[in-house]
Each structure stands twice: as C-alpha cells, then as structure tokens.
Subunit: 340 residues, 2 copies
DNA sequence: GTGAAAGCGCTAACAT
DNA sequence: ATGTTAGCGCTTTCAC
C-alpha cells in the first residue's frame, strides 16, 4: 500500500512547514505564487486528498445527513430517498441511510449510532411501531441535543421540527370529488395502513367529500385495516355490496381491489372506477393501468433536504422558525377511471 | 444548546484527568472501582457519547461503507441495498449511499467524495454508462489506494476485486428449459437492457437452451434493445410471428410483453407462457401474476457486505484472495406459466 | 491507581 | 511570505 499522502509528509518532502502547505493548497494569498505552484503540483502528483475526518474534527461539521426510512422497498420511500440524495449531493452533502423496518427499536438504535458527531442532522419518516406506540422521546432528545430533524410524510404533531408532507386530507377530498363527478354513487374506501396518520387523514377527506355531496357514508363499504392479511380476508365482503367506485389509501389495497374486480369479471372502468394512492411504476403497468394520487416523492425528498441544509448552514442567531411544507399531490388519470 | 459533553469537561467537573475518564469509561482495570463508578454515572447523567469523528481520526477507520447504486427506484437494487444495510448494521457499520443514476460522471464523483477517509470500502454495481464506455480507471485507482471494492450484479472482469453475482447464464438456460418442458416450441427473447453484461449472459443462456433442444434460434422473435422506446416500438413485430412463449430479461420487457398479449386477447398461460427476470412485488400483483427468475436481492446485498467487512477486518497479512460469489436464482412459478 | 504528554491530520491565530 | 503553536476529542504509552 502506498502511504496516504498527508500535509506533514508533503511538508517534509518539500522542506516547508505544514501550514505553508495547507495555505498553498487552499490558495491563500499569504503564499507566494512560486511556492503555491510547487506545492500544488507536488500534491497532485502524490494524489493528495485532505483527510475528511480531520477536517470534520476541526470544523465540527460532517456535511453528512442521516436518513431513516421505514422501508426502502416501498417505492414511495425510494422516490423520496432519491430526491434527498440528489438535493444533498448538489449541496455537497453525503447521506447515511438507515432502514428502521417499521421498528421503534431500530429507529432508536439508528439515531443513537449517528448522534455522536457522525451526522449533522436527520431526515426521517416515523416507523409504524413508533407511530402506534406514540413514543417520540428519541426525536425530542436529538432536537434538544441540537441535532435538527426534518420529518416527512409520517410526522407527529408532538415533535416540533421542520416537516414536509402532502396534503392528505385535501388530496382525498379532491380524488373522491372527482369520482363523484364521474357519476360514482357508492364509493368503497379501502386501507391496509389504518394505523398511520396519513391513512387517517385520507379517510377523513373521503368522509367529508361523500358527506358534502349529500351521499350517506356506508360503513359496509369501508374497510380500514392495519395489516394485509385481515384486509385480504375481508375484501370479498366489500364487493358483496353494490359499489361503483373504489378509493384505496395505499398500494396493497389498490392492487388487491383491482385484482379482485378483474377476477369477478367486473368491467373497469365502465362498471367500477378505481383511484389509489400509489407511487410505483407498476400503477402504469397494470392492465388496466391504475389512476393514482401521486405524491411527488422526489420533490418531497428535495424539499426536506433543502430545509435541513438551510437550517444547518444558518448562522446561530438566525435559525429559521419551524415550518411545515406542503407538497401538492396530483391526480393521475389512467385507465381505471372513466374520462370526464 | 446544552454543550456536548466531552472527556475534557467531565474530567474538569470531576477533578480528575482526561485519561482517567477515558479509561474509566472503557472499563480499564487500571482504574479503581469507586472512580470508575463515579465517572460512569456522571457520564451517563451528562448523556456523554464519545465523539465518533475523534475516534475515527485516532483509529483511522470509520466503520462506514460507501454504497453506489445505479438506481434505487429499481426494485432489484432496492432489495440488494436493504440486504447491505442489514448486514452492515449487524456488524456495527454504517452505510453512505450514492446514486449514480447510470452516469459515469456521478459514479466518479461519488467515489471521489468518499475516498478521503469518509468510508472504509465500497460496495457498488457498475453504472450503465460506465459499462458501455468500459471506463474503469476510478475503480482501479480506489483499489490501488487500498480502498477495497465489492462489486455486485453488474461487474467487470477488468477489475480485480471481490464480486457477488447470480449465475445469469445458467438461470436463463434453466428457465428456457422449463418452458420447453411446458411444450413451448417458439420462445421469444426480449430485453431492454442489452447494453448490460447481465443481459448478454442471459441471452447466451437462451440461445444455448434453444439449440440444445434442437430448435432453431429464430432472430425474428428475438428483440434485444438497450432502451425502452425502441423496444416499445418494435414489440408488435415480435407478436406478428407465431410464438408460444416469452422469456424476458428485465422488468420492462416482462410487463410490456404481458400487457401487449392481454390487449391482443391472447390467453396466458394457455396460449402463451411468460417468464421474466423481476424482483419487484408487482410481479405477484399482475393479473395473471408473472412467473419470474428471482435473484434473491437481499442475499446478494448481505453477501457483499459480509465480504467487504471480512476483508476490512482481516489482519494486514491475511487479506483473503479475491473471490466471486455466485448466488443461486430461483424460478418462481406463478400464473403466467402452465403447471408442469 | 492516576496523570501527563504525544499524536491522529488538519486549520488558523499569531509570530517572525 | 513562511513558520510556530495551539487545539479539535480521543486513545494510549509512559511516568509518577
């Protein structure tokens, strides 16, 4: 192994002092042109790269963001992540990723591992278990230790920090209103993530839209579960009612509903309109393709990264107020809904 | 902000020396029981956490792995990544992730950003552009700088390092043989990633299996492209031939073929058997669900992380030989193929 | 059993 | 224009 080049070594070989080398490399005006050139060329020759860790230790900043994601296999989170990574990189930041796997323990462990100078701040979406148990101590601790957090999508009102969300409530109202305009009179509501705040907000939006249009909310065509097994077992009952629309609050519900309808020979979209929350490519690829409420994952990620970095780079005194940024969703009309 | 606790501070407040505190916290036998307890309790009270960066600077190791992935939205990579993250965490390592977005430039930039002490080693899959241009200087440089690399899936023979792959050739032979056993006589071969090494290996496997069974390889039912647009335009021509099987080398090809067949009213699997390379959940969710060659993404990731960490933690002299580990694929029979 | 001191690689205030 | 020094937070050898 060829020894890693350090300032010290270069200084010795060039018979100058360490600080001269340091200044020369950072192009300080204190250093004469000839020495600068001599040093810089020699450094390039030796393939010198300043040791990042030493720089970090000095500057007390790592230019690294800790990202904690419940599940990278969920395409929504994958999209958000790609947005975070892009925005962070554009501003010279690295991203350390941990996957909480929806577990409170892993979430705490991950934050612990990173809250020791490894990262400057966190971007995260709360795990399922954390949200169910409503245990937010670890977040509050980090914040009081002066490690800023930006939460996205799954957030908690109990924690004061920056947040990025989509307007789940309004999105749902809008989607359901759209279906009603398509002449749907009995719209089923399906979810397999009813333990999450986002699902509850979407359900509220559904109820409001239905009520506002003077239809009655029929609990027989509402199936809210927090696990896929129960959902799959009960889905059949929903179809025993007379329905002409489905509003699904997550991927699994969307796809299973569609599969079920196809198996029963129901014509989509002629007899049944379907809209689902979904971000993966597969919604386009289904036959018929699924109309979705798209959440603009990459934008969410970018916004979160921007907010965090802005806060990190703000001067002590001018730390911005905590804000919650709302990213607009978009109704993507595909083949599972009739044209207006 | 409450000051971050440091050894120095604790030492001062307790009226002992820094080294005493350090030793007490690491439970050194040099320190008397009472002082140990006093120090440890005080440290806990102050919520002391050793500054990771300082520790890194001392130890010259960061216990951090750099992962460079072409595209996290591709579920195969997402799965591999989750395997890497899990295995790394189990061994106390963190993971810094960069997304090359299939670009050589970004790949080089990412490696540059991290090759300065930030990470101890790399796990990566070569970007499309890199593979097309066959430009591997940056990999070789890292290795000669003593930063080990483990490549997975998309690898290059030109770079000597540890590798983890699936046996693309054999997998293809096996899948095609299976279709032939199902009585398929004219199996189309489809790919939208023909620029990648993996696709070429799979295509070779197809040709061998077809030839071995004494069918002739018909170029009219072989469509190998390196972009989806061209593929979508030409796919119709393949269907104008008389085919009874489809072997698709990537997600896009699999799904588009299926969609096309459904639109044409072809019965799957009765009139047409389809097998595709795919790792996402959607293959299960399609109607009919897609039979796939599953690549065991998480296992690939875990194996890669294990290999890298083992090398990192090996003593100088006993650095293991470079090996290429092959993970077996699995044929997942679903509804798009007949039962044997 | 405890402490002083050196040093990891770097920056920057302060000499010269 | 160049060099000396101190120090970031920690570990570790060597004195006491």
């Amino acid at each position: 192994m060829k020894q890693k080049a350090t300032l010290k070594q270069i200084a010795k070989e060039l018979n100058v002092s360490v600080s001269t080398v340091s200044k020369a490399l950072s192009n300080s005006p204190e250093i004469s042109e000839p020495t600068k050139i001599r040093v810089q060329e020699f450094a390039k020759l030796k393939n010198y790269k300043p040791n990042n860790i030493a720089v970090n230790l000095k500057s007390k900043r790592t230019k690294t963001i800790g990202v904690i994601i419940p599940n990278i296999l969920n395409p929504f989170f994958a999209k958000v992540f790609s947005g975070i990574e892009k925005a962070a990189n554009d501003r010279g930041y690295n991203v350390i990723t941990c996957i909480s796997n929806e577990s409170l323990q892993k979430e705490i462990h991950a934050m612990d591992m990173l809250s020791n100078g490894t990262i400057d701040g966190f971007i995260l979406s709360i795990s399922e278990e954390t949200q169910t148990k409503q245990d937010f101590k670890h977040f509050k601790e980090a914040i009081s230790d002066d490690i800023p957090i930006v939460m996205f999508d799954r957030i908690s009102d109990e924690v004061s920090c920056d947040k990025v969300v989509v307007d789940d409530f309004d999105s749902a109202v809008h989607a359901v209103n759209h279906m009603i305009k398509l002449n749907c009179k009995r719209i089923a509501l399906l979810s397999t993530i009813d333990n999450l705040s986002v699902s509850k907000l979407r359900a509220k939006g559904y109820r409001k839209a239905v009520a506002d249009n003077n239809y009655k909310v029929d609990e027989n065509i509402i199936l809210l579960t927090d696990n896929t097994e129960e959902f799959d077992n009960k889905l059949g009952f929903v179809f025993e009612n007379d329905i002409d629309g489905i509003f699904a609050l997550d991927e699994h519900a969307s796809v299973m509903a569609m599969k079920h309808a196809i198996k029963k020979g129901i014509k989509i979209p002629d007899e049944l309109n379907i809209i689902g929350f979904a971000d993966g490519v597969w919604s386009r690829r289904l036959t018929p393709s699924l109309s979705t409420v798209s959440q603009h994952g990459p934008e969410i990620g970018e916004a979160a990264a921007e907010m965090l970095i802005n806060r990190l780079e703000a001067k002590e005194e001018e730390a911005p107020e905590y804000v919650t940024k709302v990213i607009k969703t978009e109704l993507r009309q595909r083949e599972s809904t009739r044209k207006l």
